[in-house]
Amino acid sequence: MIDRAQVLHVAKLARLALSEEEVARMSRELSAVLGHIEKISELDLDGVPPTSHVVEVTDALRPDEPRPSLPREVALAAAPEPLEQGFGVPSPGAA
């Protein structure tokens, strides 16, 4: 059901590198899980509104007041490559 091409497409969307062995296993395992999940396609859900949040919350707004945020050196403390007071990354276009 989920073939190799689909696995590779989804892995690309998810920014995951998969080994050949993982691609084969993912295809098999996702197909089995989705085979079970497919049962919800049998339900008549016409006109049923979707639920994205279960508890009524309206206008969860806070006052728009400036307040201190994390100091820069604290925010950068766990960074793999702190660079010129920012987060260093490889070039987006190097390859």
């Binding site: 989920i2 689909q6 696995v7 497409h9 989804v10 892995a11 969307l13 998810a14 920014r15 995951l16 590198a17 998969l18 993982e22 993912m26 395992e29 996702l30 089995a32 899980v33 989705l34 079970h36 999940i37 049962k39 919800i40 396609s41 339900l43 859900l45 049923v48 509104p49 979707p50 639920t51 994205s52 949040h53 279960v54 508890v55 919350v57 969860a60 806070r62 994390l70 604290v74 925010a75 403390a77 766990a78 960074a79 793999p80 490559e81 987060f87 990354v89 490889p90 070039s91 987006p92 276009g93 190097a94 390859a95």
Partner: protein
């Protein structure tokens, strides 16, 4: 074994407050057991050296608290069971932890868990599986397996866990302790490393129902840092009561008919009879969409997870694997940092959200969620609480289900519907089957925690479960 370990948290608080017990002595008794891994369980990923000094007269009186790894704790490793966060020490503390330490609890350690809370056996941790203190060849359940095992084995008096689809209730059941998942929004999620934001809730693991009420009392309430958190109506009360007179209990046919192991079913049926003797009325009821809840859950939770876990990209914290270009760095870092189950769920969630499949999977799952919640609302017009087994089986063997994701997911069949509906549920020990604990789950309408705790307390007193075998000393050197 120290007799201090036999005290419940509420009893320890009384003794400390009365001046009969020094908080430092209590802390050291637990710290030594946790640090030595006295039962060879691998329940902790980090153990404190010294207790913080609580304010004199604080309501939780310096009683030590174990905390699931995924709660951010300032300056203390908070890794969510993942290699991608190995050694990460956050610059801030989760609100629920801060509230408890503010009330006098002292941080004892961080507990092992399934990676990013994805799992029902605690075998998906980058730091190795946790073992069940009743039988170390078996799993403690998951994803909060370390918290459950630590409390059951007397390595901690109580612990914090999180529940997304059963991750507090199922391990509590498999380890023979009490676990409570509060109403969605009752406890702040700020500082919890997110799995599925519309489902995640923090809650207590304790040895008895009174301790669960006591810990929860100091956790609930609105937090300006979590816009989905709510003011709790009233206060969490310490349960009392001697019978269940007037209580209407419903038994959902869809969650109690098929797939429940015979020993679990027998214990469940016996407790329903006990509830009737205690004055409750017990009648069957129906949750027609409950059989589809698991399918909806395994679309919604992975979909939310795939978005939440996008932040682990090797840029701001955690693991980075070097590569020539940016995309190569992202994909190599995530390939090396995530374990098999996390990759599987990211793939499943990304697929369910992808163009062409969104309506058929994620959209339909959200509609099923509406129907599941409506079923509960209808049932609570006739019943005060519903009751089911917590898990369909006792603790299974390590390795038994790791190669069969679907079989693993079926562990959550009785716990997932309440998560989708956002309602509170508690698991209490319901006797043994073949020497292993079984769990009883009670659930009620949103914000019915006091009703749940009151009924659970009466049943607990009548059942008289003895959890002490799991705490009895098996020295680290005596491991079988």
């Amino acid at each position: 074994m120290s007799e201090l370990i036999e005290l419940t948290a509420a009893q320890a608080i009384e003794r400390v407050a009365a001046g009969d017990l020094a908080a430092a002595e209590l802390f050291e008794a637990y710290r030594a057991r946790a640090a030595a891994d006295a039962h060879d369980l691998n329940a902790f990923t980090w153990v404190a050296d010294d207790p913080a000094t609580p304010d004199a007269g604080a309501p939780l009186a310096g009683v030590p608290l174990a905390v699931k790894d995924l709660f951010c704790t300032e300056g203390v490793p908070s890794q969510s069971g993942s290699k991608i966060l190995e050694g990460y020490r956050p610059p801030y503390t989760a609100t629920s932890v801060a509230k408890l330490t503010g009330a006098g609890a002292t941080l004892l350690g961080k507990t092992n868990q399934d990676e990013f809370a994805m799992g029902s056996s605690n075998e998906n941790s980058a730091f190795g599986p946790v073992k069940n203190p009743w039988d170390r060849a078996r799993v403690p359940g998951g994803s909060s397996g370390g918290s459950a095992a630590a409390v059951a084995a007397g390595l901690a008096p109580w612990a914090l866990g999180t529940d997304t689809g059963g991750s507090i209730r199922q391990p509590a059941a498999l380890c023979g302790i009490v676990g409570l998942k509060p109403t969605y929004g009752a406890v702040s999620r700020y500082g919890m490393i997110a799995f599925a934001s519309s489902l995640d809730q923090a809650g207590p693991f304790t040895r008895d129902v009174t301790d669960a009420a006591l810990l929860l009392r100091h956790m609930v309430g609105r937090d300006a840092r979590d816009a989905t958190s709510l003011d709790y109506p009233g206060e969490i009360e310490l349960p009392r009561g001697v019978d269940l007179r007037g209580l209407r209990l419903g038994v959902p046919e869809e969650l109690t008919a098929d797939g429940i192991e015979s020993g679990v079913r027998d214990a469940f049926t016996a407790t329903l009879a006990l509830a009737e003797q205690l004055g409750a009325s017990v009648e069957p009821c129906s949750l027609p969409h409950a059989p589809h809840a698991l399918s909806a859950y395994y679309l919604i939770a992975p979909a939310e997870a795939s978005a939440n876990l996008a932040r682990f990209d090797g840029v701001r914290y955690g693991l980075r694997v070097a590569a020539e270009d940016l995309t190569g760095m992202y994909t190599a870092t995530r390939a090396a940092g995530f374990g098999a189950e996390v990759k599987r769920r990211i793939m499943l969630g990304t697929y369910a959200l992808s163009s062409g499949y969104y309506d058929a999977y994620y959209g339909r799952a959200q509609q099923v969620r509406t129907k599941v919640a409506e079923d509960f609302r209808a049932a609570f017009e006739r019943f005060d609480l519903l009751v089911t087994p917590t898990a369909p089986s006792v603790a299974f063997r390590l390795g038994e289900k790791v190669d069969d994701p679907l079989a693993m997911y079926l562990n959550d069949v009785c716990t997932v519907p309440m998560s989708l509906a956002g309602i509170p549920a508690i698991s209490i020990p319901n006797g043994l089957s073949g020497g292993l604990p079984t769990g009883l789950q009670l659930c009620g309408p949103a914000f019915s925690e006091n009703r749940l705790l009151a009924a659970a307390y009466v049943l607990e007193q009548a059942l008289g479960f003895d959890g002490s075998p799991a705490r009895r000393a098996v020295g680290a050197g005596e491991a079988a």
